[in-house]
Amino acid sequence: MSEWWTYSLSDFLMFSPRTYYRLFELYNLAIWPWQLLAIAGGLGVLALWLRGGRWHGRAIAAILAAAWLWVAWAYLLVRFDTINWAARYFAAGFAAEAMLLIWSGLICDRLQMQRERWNAAKVSGLGLFGFALFVWPLIGLPVGRPIVQAEIFGVAPDPTAVATLGVLLGARRIRWELMIIPLIWCAISAATLWTMRSPDFFLPLVAAALVIVIAIRAAVLSLAARSG
């Protein structure tokens, strides 16, 4: 792209806010009642996180991988791609995150959750996951978007990415390799929402910033504890 400095974010926005949110409406209607299964999957992650067990890390990774794969195919590739030619690349990114979760979490069992101590990372991670699962579907209501346009964990990209970041924040060891794609998505989504002048544009950005700050803090503390 020549003279790239002359482009603004609005030059890349190729659909109207009305079309963007209508896409969620048609998508939700088309897949109903699979949203209930996605929410059940989210509740399952919470239960596994809090109750533990030998297979909890693998099971959480499997649920998250399934959510990322579903969003990649059913939303990004089948729906979003009809109004945004970049969606196929986003879908590839979501599929890659699913593969990373399968490899790191399911096969190598590296996604052990922090259950013994209630530190800042665990509290923030749980808070972020709970927000993505229970509050995110409702955030459109105060700004006039109907519930049928709700963005739900395991169905829509934003709450799926934020919920995953919440889980990764609450893991026993920070898994940076699993955080990169969700963080990139938060930036892309915030830019899209900001360009559409959506009042909730800051949410993915705040979630990403919170995760970065707390993850860095946790990593520094862990390093200090080991060297001390």
């Binding site: 030059d11 190729m14 659909f15 079309t19 209508r22 896409l23 009809t82 109004i83």
Partner: protein
């Protein structure tokens, strides 16, 4: 500034004449719409066309596609002809094709699309896919979008034109990008059309590109007349000046469009909209009287004070 009498460029299509072009499926009678000739052929084009950036990118939403078809119907009913799109515009081409099929492929359509791909060898395939999306036998105009690999695409478009598979060839840019290279292509290639950004606030093309287009007999399509709506939203905070009635403007949108189409080098402006009343308002701007040079200066001066 080109010092030409606009009346030498304008040909008024009478209501009766436009009605003769009209498909039976459309019941509304088109109003008189001012036209200008394409310099390379003399073909008359209405001064106002229809863009499809963002507005027609509605995906597979049937209700939204039907609404776009209604906009197209209003456009043809008001005397419009040129619809412009691009492979870059998401589903816009498919939505235009849906609308054209629904309207029974209006004979007065002037189809303007673009080739937008880095690979020169994949250009013909993209053009064929675009043609299939529109559902037309051939495009009237194909433009190299934003000069992307124009060295590879332009010879192929010219060959298509020579073979009778295309009527006109052009290039586009927007928001002032690559004007130096754009000018070079205008000077060296046998272009029928250029497409550039021009509006009350973005007037860079007045200095070189528009005079050059006039000098070389190249038709000019104007994109982003309202800065994607921002310009009109900004102007609508203020009352329309009383003297706007001297050029029969009833809205800021008409004020902005009349300014553009009154430039002697401009052939057609392509505002995009999702509303039928805006289509009628836009086509209504293609009517006499158009501002003369003094009025154009007054319009610029007034808008710059707001």
């Amino acid at each position: 500034m080109i010092d030409l009498d606009r009346r030498t460029f304008l040909h008024c299509v009478t209501t009766a004449g436009a009605a003769a072009l009209f498909p039976r499926s459309l019941s509304a009678k088109p109003a008189a719409v001012l036209t200008k000739p394409v310099p390379s052929s003399g073909e008359a084009l209405p001064l106002v066309g229809l863009g499809s950036w963002i507005t027609f990118n509605v995906g597979n939403d049937v209700a939204a596609r039907d609404a776009c078809a209604t906009v197209m119907q209003a456009f043809f009913a008001a005397g419009g002809r040129l619809i412009d799109s691009s492979p870059m515009y998401g589903s816009s081409q498919q939505v235009i094709g849906y609308g054209l099929a629904k309207l029974g492929h209006p004979a007065e359509l002037f189809s303007a699309d673009k080739v937008w791909i880095s690979s020169g060898s994949r250009g013909p395939g993209q053009i064929e896919a675009s043609r299939g999306a529109w559902g037309v036998r051939r495009f009237d105009l194909l433009q190299v979008h934003n000069l992307l690999n124009w060295e590879a695409h332009l010879p192929k478009l010219l060959a298509m034109k020579a073979a009778g598979r295309l009527r006109y060839v052009g290039i586009t840019t927007s928001e002032g990008r690559r004007h130096r290279e754009f000018e070079r292509v205008m000077r060296t290639q046998p272009l029928d059309f250029i497409q550039v950004t021009y509006n009350l606030l973005d007037r860079e093309v007045e200095s070189r590109l528009l005079p050059l287009a006039h000098e070389r007999g190249i038709a000019v399509i104007i994109n982003r007349p309202f800065r994607q709506g921002d310009l009109v939203r900004r102007l609508e905070r203020y009352p329309l000046p009383a003297w706007a009635s001297e050029i029969n403007c009833t809205s800021w949108a008409q004020f902005a469009l009349k300014f553009i189409i009154s430039h002697p080098a401009v052939t057609c402006v392509i505002p995009a909209t999702t509303r039928t009343d805006h289509v009628q308002e836009n086509l209504g701007a293609a009517s006499d009287p158009l501002p003369d040079a003094a009025m154009r200066e007054r319009m610029i001066a007034y808008v710059e004070t707001l």
